[in-house]
């Protein structure tokens, strides 16, 4: 099969984004402190989340608020499989179904986590794709709350708000950079694939797309499940680096943070997802520093606790008000640099 014009450009654009990600990784490896490295790592985890969000939201233009739950499902599923039996006997003494009596290698555990998340997102997606607009948004919010409640109250499996510890820390910055690059190619490839083009057509005009033979629900479901798998990947990468997880990071604050990243950068493009993630991650670090009331050129600034939350809210409100399509709008990176 020959590639269309936009597919060739898409491949080129994905290469440019990959080069940027690799450059960030290399600079971090050589120049960053341990603390900064952890920040960059978490920015890369969030990048994969935002890319996962973009696959569904950017192409179908339906809002998903449950994404952090799917990240959590991936993280917990992998953690339960990979954590050594001795650790699990301590952490999960009352686990049912023999969950604390086996341990698998990290790769097998990751595959199982992807399968589990894929099945759950398929089951949820069947309902989500039947809805439109507000219905889908509210239903996805309900999914977030349901999953979080399960994490929180099935303490025998998930430990709730306590730390689930003892997960082998098999990931490094290099691993996540490679993973992010692969995901960028997958997400951009999907956008320019027949599925992506047909799904975007349905987002432009659902009736018109149906009259052109597009099975809108089926395509939404494909994008939804792919999104779920990418979110699970982010969750696995998170668990495999930190070695400890709990229910809290997979709830509303994280939903809000990653949503702000996607909206700010522009949800219609992969470039927007990358730009938004790094811009907000960097901006947030500055704001966190300001929150503590630092001394700047001899002036003691007051402590401003809660400033980061306010800033994220403002980013969403201002982007929605002033430029609803985000910084990138409809343009991918290669379109910015081409003459036309």
């Amino acid at each position: 099969m020959t590639l269309t014009q936009s597919q060739k450009r898409g491949f080129f654009g994905a290469c440019m984004l990959a080069a940027i990600l690799i450059a960030i990784g290399v600079v971090t490896t050589f120049f960053a402190s341990n603390y900064q490295l952890r920040l960059v790592y978490s920015a890369f985890v969030n990048l994969i989340v935002v890319l996962g969000l973009q696959v569904f939201m950017g192409n179908s233009r339906l809002t998903n608020l449950s994404h952090s739950a799917f990240m959590g499902i991936g993280a917990y599923a992998a953690a339960i499989c990979v954590t050594p039996v001795a650790m699990k006997q301590i952490a999960l003494p009352d686990a049912p179904w023999g969950l604390n009596a086996f341990a698998l290698d990290p790769v097998t555990s990751a595959i199982i986590a992807l399968i589990v998340t894929g099945i759950v997102s398929l089951a949820v997606g069947v309902f989500i794709v039947r809805m439109t607009g507000t219905g889908a948004t509210i239903a996805s919010l309900a999914v977030l709350v349901i999953v979080h409640s399960i994490f929180l109250y099935r303490t025998d499996i998930f430990k709730g708000n306590q730390a689930f510890f003892g997960i082998p820390q098999v990931f490094s910055l290099t691993s996540i950079v490679i993973l992010a690059v692969v995901v960028v190619f997958i997400v951009r490839g999907f956008r320019e694939s027949p599925w992506g083009v047909m799904l975007r057509a349905s987002a432009d005009d659902e009736t018109g797309a149906a009259a052109m033979g597009v099975n809108v629900r089926r395509l939404r479901l494909i994008a939804w499940v792919l999104s779920g798998l990418i979110l699970a990947t982010a969750g696995i990468a998170y668990a495999y680096f930190l070695g400890t997880i709990s229910a809290r990071p997979f709830y509303f604050n994280h939903v809000f943070l990653t949503l702000a990243m996607l909206i700010f950068g522009g949800m219609r493009t992969v470039t927007g997802a990358v730009l938004g993630t790094f811009a907000i991650s960097f901006g947030l670090e500055i704001v966190r520093w300001l929150e503590t009331g630092p001394k700047v050129i001899g002036i003691n600034l007051p402590e401003l606790l809660g400033l980061s939350g306010i800033m994220l809210g403002l980013v969403i409100v201002l982007t929605m008000a002033l430029r609803p399509v985000g910084v990138m709008g409809d343009r991918e990176i290669e379109e910015v640099f081409s003459k036309r």
Partner: protein
Amino acid sequence: MLELNGVSKSFGGVHAVRDVSFVLEQGEVRGLIGPNGAGKSTLVNLISGLLAPTAGSMTLDGLPLKGKSAHQRARLGIARTFQNLRVFPSLSVEQNIDVARYAAGGAPLVDAAIAEFGLRDKLTARANALSYGDQRRLEIVRGLALGPKVLMLDEPAAGMNEEETAALGASLRWVQREAGCALFVIDHDLKFIMTLCDRITVLDMGAVIAEGSPQEITQNPKVISAYLGEDIGAEA
């Protein structure tokens, strides 16, 4: 080929389409005319599956269309354009056409149709950057990319000047010749319809009041009194 049997549609108490029956033959160019509100667009929506009839049945090559959704009918070979343009604004011209091509698995004639309708140099442009006439032509090419058995055109000449309308007529005859699909054309431009179509169906108040060759239609007293007025002979 496409057969309608007693198709009716009512919205609440309003009978938009009443007991419409006709057969569209392969390769035929059929005009559908009638005053505003006669139910022409509703009929196209019923055939394309965007609306479900309240009564009656439809078949395509003997296959019942009941229960088939809009996208299934499109894949079976029922293509259409819209009175209010429905191009995909954020996609390029080429991608607009690709959507139909992907859904239907490709039609051999598409590249030739792109050239015939003057879109060859505009393939990379975003669809919402096209002129009104080009958007109408894009909808036709997009419909052809489904490789259809029937292409229904809802006011394809709307908003076009005389020159553009004449060119459109020539292109549509090209479609009939090359694609071999039936054309089902709604328009208010009688001269356009009369010169383009083999047969014409006249709809009034949702019901078929006449059917025949352009000649017969212009002389049908029912048509003259119900809709066209005295100047029909003059216009055609």
